[in-house]
Every structure is written in C-alpha cells, then in structure tokens.
C-alpha cells in the first residue's frame, strides 16, 4: 500500500536504488524468493529422507483396498472398498455431525441466550448455570460422560426398552426406529421438498413486498410450512402412497431392519451441541445487550409483546453483532467434531488415522485431512461472510 501511495506521488528522478517503487519490487521479489527456496528445501529434504528411510510415498494407496470395516456409514462401504472411499465415508460422517451440530446449537444457544435475559428469575438462573457448567468443562470430558451414560446406563439389545407398540427400541446399541422401504417415489418427494422450499421463500418475499406496499400482513410462515410439507405429500399420494415400512426386530445379537442412530453419534452430537450452545448463548446475549435499550422501550411503546419485540425489533438488529463471532463457533463445531475419535465415532480423523497406520504414509494423509478441514472451514466462512454482508446495515 505504502509503495502505491508513494508511487502515485509526482515522480522525481532518483537513482534506481533510491527509487521506492523499484525498492519495493526488489524487496518483494526477495521475500517471495526466500519463501520459495525454503519450500523447495523442505520438500526436497522430505522426499530425500523418505527415500533414505525407504518409506513409501505418493497417493497410489488411495486406490487400494482398504480392508477395514467402518461401523457407521452414510454411503455403501465394505472392507473391499478403496482407501479413498473410506476417507470419503469419514468426510461425510464429519459433515453430518457438523451440519446437525451447527443447526441445533444455533437454536438451543439462541433460546438460552434470550432466556438468560428473561425477567423470570428462575429461567434466567437456569440458563446462567447451564452456560457456566458447559463452557467451563472441557468438551472431551462431556463426550466421555455422555458416551459412558449411553453405553453403561442403557440395557443390552435383548433387554431393549421398546416404545410405540414395539416399533422403536432403545438400547446400548443405539436407537432403532422403523423407516419406509426405499421406493422410487422418494427421489421425487425430495424434488418436491426442494421445490416446496423454493416456493416458500418466494411466497415470503411476495408477502413482505405486499406488506411494505399495502400494510396487509400475510401469514407467510404457516403458509410456507404448508407448501414445504404439502408438495412432498402430494407427490407421495400421486405415487400411489407406498406404505411399506422396514421394522427393526431383534435377530441374533442385534436388531435388524429399520434405521439406527448409534450411541457414538448421539454422544458426539449431544456433547458438541450442549457445549457450543453455551458459547452461542453468550454471543446472542451480548448481541442483544449491545442494542440501545431505547429499542426495546420503543417496541414496547408500539404495543409489541415481548416475543414480537424480540423477533421483529431486537434480534434482527442484534444479528449484526452476533453473526461474526458465530462464524467462529461454527468453525469450532466442525473442528471439535474431530474429538470423535475418543469415543469411537468414525469421522474423518478416524478414517485418516487408520489409513496412516495401515499404509504408513503420514505426510500424504495429513495433507489430505488438512485440505478437507480447510475446504469445509473456508466454505463455512465464505457463507457466513456472505450472510454478514447481507444483513449488514445498509448505509445510504
């Protein structure tokens, strides 16, 4: 910057070594050159050392058969699949827990943060205790606690707790529940769902525009929900309303059929959400407290109820303060999900660690894991920055 500023000043003829523009360029070239030389030296040295110790290198192993089983997969996977697939399974498992964790901790954190500001003494104290308890104990300990609670407190599969007329089973193997048998119509229902969401957004925009123009409110939220749920339901009816279900049933060691939420996943998600919510709650509280109290007084003077004042007046303004630190919390959830390995949830780190061990190629695998976390984190940052710009105060 300084160089540009100087460069734009009227040029005085000086010797090249005294010319700030030339100097600036020279220094930058030297710095870039040094960094490149260092990188060159490190890479060369690494390859040399690997070669000397006869440690295999390269990414060929990704196509080889992994040979190990993974307990919780979102896509089809068997020991005959490749290492690349095993790592992909891990990435999806990390994303699953991160996305759910972000959504749930945003909701819970906002509720707790607002609750802490409640005039109701009991509610605000409960919220305060919650925050202090969760943010002052390391996450790892919470994970161990929840995992132990689930695996020690719940009965084995043969003594499982059943509910809803023997259709849902809770045991230390997880929560088994019935799911519809896969049907081609499900794909179209998903399309219907997406169309419904798009429709609801359009509806909401239209309603807002109309209200701005005419002052007529429109119940866009309930109508939106109806559209989102209604479209897939219509598709389902049009597809002949298939009702075949896969029911979990005890067979041999374990339940078969239905779908399962495993204890490792539950413990990790619960731990992440409860822990992060404590931080989110404080961010939300600080966002609301950052507003001038005239805002809530004005809202009250307009006759808005506390809930409406919060939703229409306070939170939208508080968001400007809340969003930037929330980005960090979302990134924290994603990265903290790597503690999964302590309680045996097969996330990205678990897949990579096993791969490192079976192939011995630590450098390649660490590069992969860094690239994976970096892409996820940068995506979250990019999205949140976009959102932040959208809600930023528009100055005219």
């Amino acid at each position: 910057m300084a160089v540009e500023a100087l460069g734009s000043a009227p040029r005085v003829k000086v010797a090249p070594w005294n010319d700030p523009v030339i100097r600036g360029w020279v220094f930058q070239i030297v710095v870039v050159g040094l960094v490149a030389a260092l990188a060159w030296y490190l890479i060369g040295n690494t390859l040399d050392n690997l070669n000397r110790q006869k440690i295999a290198s390269g990414f060929d192993y990704l196509g080889r058969e992994a040979g190990f089983e993974i307990g919780d997969t979102m896509i089809s996977y068997s020991p005959a699949s490749t290492y690349a697939r095993a790592i992909w399974v891990g990435i999806l498992n990390t994303l699953r827990v991160a996305v759910l964790g972000i959504i749930l901790s945003t909701i819970l954190g906002t509720l707790v943060g607002v609750g802490r500001l409640s005039p109701n003494w009991l509610l605000s104290k409960i919220c305060e205790w919650y925050v202090e308890a969760f943010r002052n104990v390391p996450l790892l300990l919470w994970l161990f606690l929840f995992y132990k609670l689930i695996s020690e407190a719940f009965p084995g599969p043969r003594q499982a707790i059943s509910a809803f007329w023997n259709s849902v089973f809770l045991s230390n193997r997880g929560l088994y529940f019935p799911v519809p048998v896969t049907d081609p119509i499900h794909k179209w229902m998903a399309v219907g769902l997406l169309a419904g969401i798009a429709g609801a957004i359009a509806l909401h925009r239209w309603a807002k525009k109309r209200q701005d123009a005419t002052g007529q409110p429109f119940p866009s939220i309930s109508a939106g929900i109806a559209v989102v749920l209604g479209l897939p339901a219509l598709v389902w009816l049009a597809g002949g309303a298939p009702t075949a279900m896969s029911w979990p049933a005890l067979k041999g060691f374990n339940f078969e059929g239905g779908a399962v939420i495993q204890p490792e996943f539950t413990a990790l998600l619960v731990g992440l959400v409860l822990y992060t919510s404590a931080f989110v709650a404080e961010i939300v509280r600080s966002g609301i407290l950052a507003l001038h109290k005239g805002q809530s007084e004005a809202a009250a003077a307009l006759g808005l109820s506390r809930g409406l004042a919060m939703r229409l007046v306070l939170l939208p303004q508080a968001l400007r303060v809340i969003v930037p630190p929330m980005t960090s919390q979302y990134l924290n959830i994603t990265k903290n999900s790597s503690l999964a390995i302590a309680i045996g949830y097969p996330d990205l780190v678990a897949s990579i660690n096993v791969t490192i061990n079976q192939t011995g190629q630590a450098i390649e695998n660490i590069l992969l894991i860094m690239a994976a976390y970096l892409s996820v984190s940068l995506s979250i940052s990019a999205f949140m920055n976009w959102y932040n710009r959208r809600i930023a105060l528009t100055e005219r």
Binding site: G71, R173, N254
Partner: protein, 345 residues
C-alpha cells in the same frame, strides 16, 4: 486424537526438517549412547506385556526386551525411557525418531517391514487373533458371530483380520473402533459390543486383569478359534543396521541362554563353565560382543539383570503371573515350540 495428531505432526516435522535422516550405520547407536538412554516405545497398558505397576515401574515381556537391549548397550538394564504409544501413534513415533525402537506387540507383516520403513528384528511372542465374548451370550465358536458388534483397536492387523475373517465366512459385523485400549475394554465390558477381538495373549491378559467388578473372569469366554498368525516382535527403523543387530541379538541371547540353561540365578557360576558354547555366550571367550559392537559380557548383563526368555515368560505371562498362559508355540524349539535362536558364534 490430539495426541495422535501431535505425534503425526511431530513426525512430519522431523522428517521434513531432516532430523530423522540417518543414513549411516551406527548413527542411531551413537545417538543412544550420547543420550545415555534408550527410548523404547511400549503399549499403553496390557498386563504381562507392558504395564506400569503400582510403583509406576514398567514391567512385562516387552519391557524385558527393552531392558535387555539397554543391558547390552550400557551394561545397565535400567537406562530405558518407556514411551507408551497407542496402536495409532506407534509407527509415526518410530518413523520420526521419537523412539529408538518399538517393543509393544507389533505384528510382523510385509508392509510394515518394507513400505513403512521398518525392520523387524525377531519374534518375542508367537500369537494369533482370538475372540472373547460374555458367557451369557451362549456363543460356542466364532462361526456363530454373524451380525455381532465387535470392539477392536484401530490401525492394527487385528482390524484387518477381523474384516477378512467375516468376509471369508460370509458374515457381517459392526465394528466399534476406539483408540485407547482402556476405552475399548470399557465399551466391551459395559456391553456396547458383543465381542472383543485382539491377540489371544492380550485377551487372556484383559480377562485376567481388567474385568470390572461385579463381573468376574468366569463371565467371559475366549472362543477356541485363532484366526490369524500374529508374530509379535521388536521393531527398529531403517537406517542403522548395527543398532538393529543389537536389538535382534539381545532377544536371541535371551532364548539362547534358556536353551543352554543359563538363568539369572546361576549365571555367576556359569561364568566358570568349561562348555565352549557357554563361554562364548557369556563372553569368557571374548569376541562376540566386539563383533556386535558392545561389551563382551553383554549376555551376562542381560541374563543377570533381566533373565533368560523362559524366566521372563514365566514371570510376566506364564505360571508365575495372573495370566497363566501356557508356553505353547512359545516353547523352545527343543521342546516342540517355535522359539529358536541362531547360534552365538
């Protein structure tokens, strides 16, 4: 996980920065001598093999191998620093030079001996993979395990053999994979898994030492099937064949001593023996130690301070221990077992 990453990162840093580049024979050994201490990678705690006892002292069959190497190099079996490593940390720790050797129930395989950049120097314990189940499940053999949930340590041959065995027998299973061995055991004992699988010796150790009250040993059975070969032995990294030789022959010396009846009790009298073989072993006829690059009384020091292979076996995992494992395949070759040391001459 953090620790794994730290070890892995440290390993990479070491490889990247070149501190682990050891091309010349003897360089590792020089470093160990200069340090005055052997860094020996052991497991995080398996009774009989590697376990810190109530006084915080490491004991076990694998620990005795570390002590034997230390006795050969320094003439003192106690110049060892034990570095407990999980199954996932061990290889990076050895590759990066964080430890000089591993003696932690690592299975000798081709990949590890080559692509990982290691050399296996021998077999401390001939093992095989087995299954342990709660008795109340009523399982009699491994073929009945279809659909079971299995607790297993990550990054092990166990994990691969398990998948192979179930695939070969057209059965399915759900793994529960946890890094810390204590956590795996606790998941198994709390009923999160139906089956715990690892090397049969470790199963026996777990059954003997880790069953939480009110459960007892009697509540668990080890199934008769042994589904794999697991030759467990000390490992060094490529680069210093002289150090590898010392590790190799320290173990051989323990086996050889047992074969010739030299024990920690009688080793001093054996010094007066006329038997030329015993004289060579104990260094009363000099030469062997010099060839190996250590003191000529190296075997004397090992046997005096650590004991021969049989003594170590009995004390740690055999009749003299809670594990009560039979010698079986680990008997001397003269007694129908597989333990066989090349001659010291």
């Amino acid at each position: 996980m953090r620790k794994v990453m730290m070890v892995a990162t440290a390993g990479i840093a070491a490889v990247v920065l070149g501190t682990a580049g050891t091309a010349y024979a003897g360089k590792e050994l020089d470093a160990i001598k200069a340090r005055g201490q052997l860094l020996c990678g052991v497991g995080t705690g398996t009774a009989g093999f590697h376990l810190a006892n109530t006084q915080g002292k490491w004991v076990g069959l694998n620990v005795d191998v570390c002590r034997a190497v230390s006795a050969a190099i320094f003439g003192d079996a106690d110049k060892v620093k034990y570095v407990p490593l999980t199954s996932q940390q061990r290889f990076t720790a050895l590759q990066s030079g964080e430890v000089d050797m591993l003696s932690n129930n690592t299975t000798w395989t081709l990949t590890r001996d080559t692509a990982l950049g290691f050399d296996f120097t021998g077999v401390t314990y001939y093992d095989g993979q087995g299954f342990m189940v709660p008795k109340k499940l009523g399982v009699k053999n491994a073929k009945e395990l279809n659909g079971a949930t299995v607790c297993v340590a990550p990054g092990t041959t166990t994990e691969l053999n398990l998948a192979d065995y179930f695939r070969a027998n057209k059965m399915t299973f759900k793994p529960v994979v946890i890094e810390k061995v204590d956590e795996i055991r606790s998941a198994f004992f709390s009923g999160r898994c139906d089956v715990y699988t690892t090397d049969a010796s470790s199963l026996a150790a777990t059954r003997a030492a880790n069953v939480p009250a009110p459960l007892t040993i009697e509540d668990f059975v080890i199934l008769p099937e042994i589904i794999s070969k697991e030759p467990l032995g000390p490992v060094v990294r490529h680069g210093d064949s002289q150090f590898a030789d010392i590790v190799r022959w320290a173990l051989f010396a323990m086996v050889e001593a047992e074969e010739y009846g030299i024990t920690s009790k009688n080793v001093d009298e054996m010094l007066k023996s006329d038997n030329p073989t015993i004289k060579r072993i104990l260094g009363t006829t000099p030469g062997m130690g010099k060839a190996l690059g250590v003191a000529d009384n190296w075997v004397y020091q090992i046997i005096k301070q650590v004991g021969n292979y049989g003594e170590s076996f009995d004390r740690n995992v055999g009749p003299g221990s809670p594990l009560k494992i039979e010698r079986g395949q680990n008997a001397l070759w003269t007694k129908g077992g597989l333990q066989y040391a090349p001659p010291i001459r």
